[in-house]
Symmetry: C2
Subunit: 255 residues, 2 copies
């Protein structure tokens, strides 16, 4: 028997679905959480999709019924952080999820006299945007990256992720970004605040050791590593700090 957790933070890709492939055990796992009245949040580093888009994907790929308010993306965590630092004027690199998320709040999206440069993945980014970001950060704007993922699995292969954009700007500015997403503390603290539970009462569930499980380890949250995605069974015995729990699939987990 494992400790009983009061709430769950649940990764998406590799945990609830694999790209556009269904993970069979996902829908039943979520049903069991609902039956047991356990609150949960889907926690994703992806800043490019908004919560509604995420719920549509959960439904269409893995038959998981979810509500937008159950989705917490790095965009939401970034917005929380920007409010906390009292930033108003933002230069943003990013796609619809991040742009719409910022526009829905009262931020001024501009490229002059900005308080912060926010960098999320933009698969159409070009040099002129990266130059603007560089000059604004050199000029004193805060340098914020939504998530550190260096790659994104696609049907074309492991294409560059937002971590590559951050690496570009860290080189061109000589400054380190404040990174919001997993495994960093900022998204974890924002998610715990939203779910309204203490870190010792929550379980972080995910397939990726270096983002999901490290997010738990670094922030005092117990972890369940599920072997349906990125981290493979043969890697488990060599992990520097073990996950609290390891399971082949979510079917084995007793809520």
């Amino acid at each position: 028997m494992h400790k009983e957790y009061e709430g769950y933070l649940i990764d998406l890709d590799g945990t609830m679905y694999n790209g556009n492939e269904k993970i069979e055990e996902a829908a039943d796992f979520i049903d069991r959480l609902r039956d047991a009245d356990k609150p949960f949040l889907f926690l994703t580093n992806n800043s490019t999709a908004n919560p509604q888009t995420v719920t549509n994907k959960l439904q269409s790929v893995s038959d998981v019924k979810a509500y937008p308010e159950e989705v917490f993306t790095s965009t939401e965590a970034t917005i929380t952080y920007l409010h906390k630092m009292n930033a108003k004027r933002i230069y943003v690199i990013g796609e619809a999820g991040l742009l719409e998320g910022l526009q829905a709040e009262d931020f001024v999206l501009t490229d002059h006299e900005v308080d912060a440069v926010v960098v999320g993945l933009d698969s159409q980014v070009d040099y002129s945007q990266l130059e603007k970001a560089t000059l604004l950060i050199q000029g004193g704007a805060a340098f914020i990256g939504t998530n550190p993922d260096t790659n994104l699995p696609t049907e074309r292969g492991l294409v560059p992720g937002n971590g590559a954009l951050i690496a570009f700007l860290e080189a061109s500015t000589g400054q380190k970004a404040t990174v919001i997403g997993k495994p960093e503390a900022i998204i974890m603290e924002a998610a715990l605040a939203k779910i309204g539970l203490k870190k010792e009462d929550v379980l972080m569930v995910g397939d990726n050791y270096s983002t999901d499980i490290q997010a738990g380890i670094r922030n005092g949250v117990d972890t369940l590593l599920v072997l349906t995605g990125f981290t493979r069974k043969e890697d488990v015995e060599n992990l520097p700090t073990p996950a609290t729990h390891v399971m082949d699939t979510l079917e084995q987990w007793k809520v």
Copy 2:
């Protein structure tokens, strides 16, 4: 009295001119080298301009008369390196100087089945090019960067240089680039081969400690740090390894 050098490797920006500003002592220095029959090469990390463009700039900004065959850019050094590794099919990111340089040789510029990805500064680069480069390097192509400069001084400020593009691709591929330009060995060895002198008989002249002077220090070539450009007089006493010679201007140097 200093040692008499048989030949000179001479940096451009900060040494022969400052951006579009004349350096007064440059033309006389080059005249004195010609009068003394001392061979020299202008050695630049810039891959975006071809040798003819460089000589035009030397003439128009600082009244320095030079010939294209006296200019050795990171493009020329990259071509030498590509021939040595027997590469034929190249995917290239870069501007006119690099593209034309490669096209003038018998390389096939393509984006499939490539032997090497060559990355030079391209101020119009976009995500799709960086994605192609990422996938090709992951697929086994050699990863070559023309020069490591993280910034470029312009009238707009310190804009991103090729070192930032390399940092992006190092993050997205998990691989280190083979870098050609100063301070690396590859460009120094290629320049010594072209000038036909031994490293102990040559002086590297430049204004930038971390590129020009480090290029000499790391490769056994004596150095003259001239304080007309990037490295300032007050930095000199704190340099980790001193330059062989330091002068305020080239006027003070006896050829």
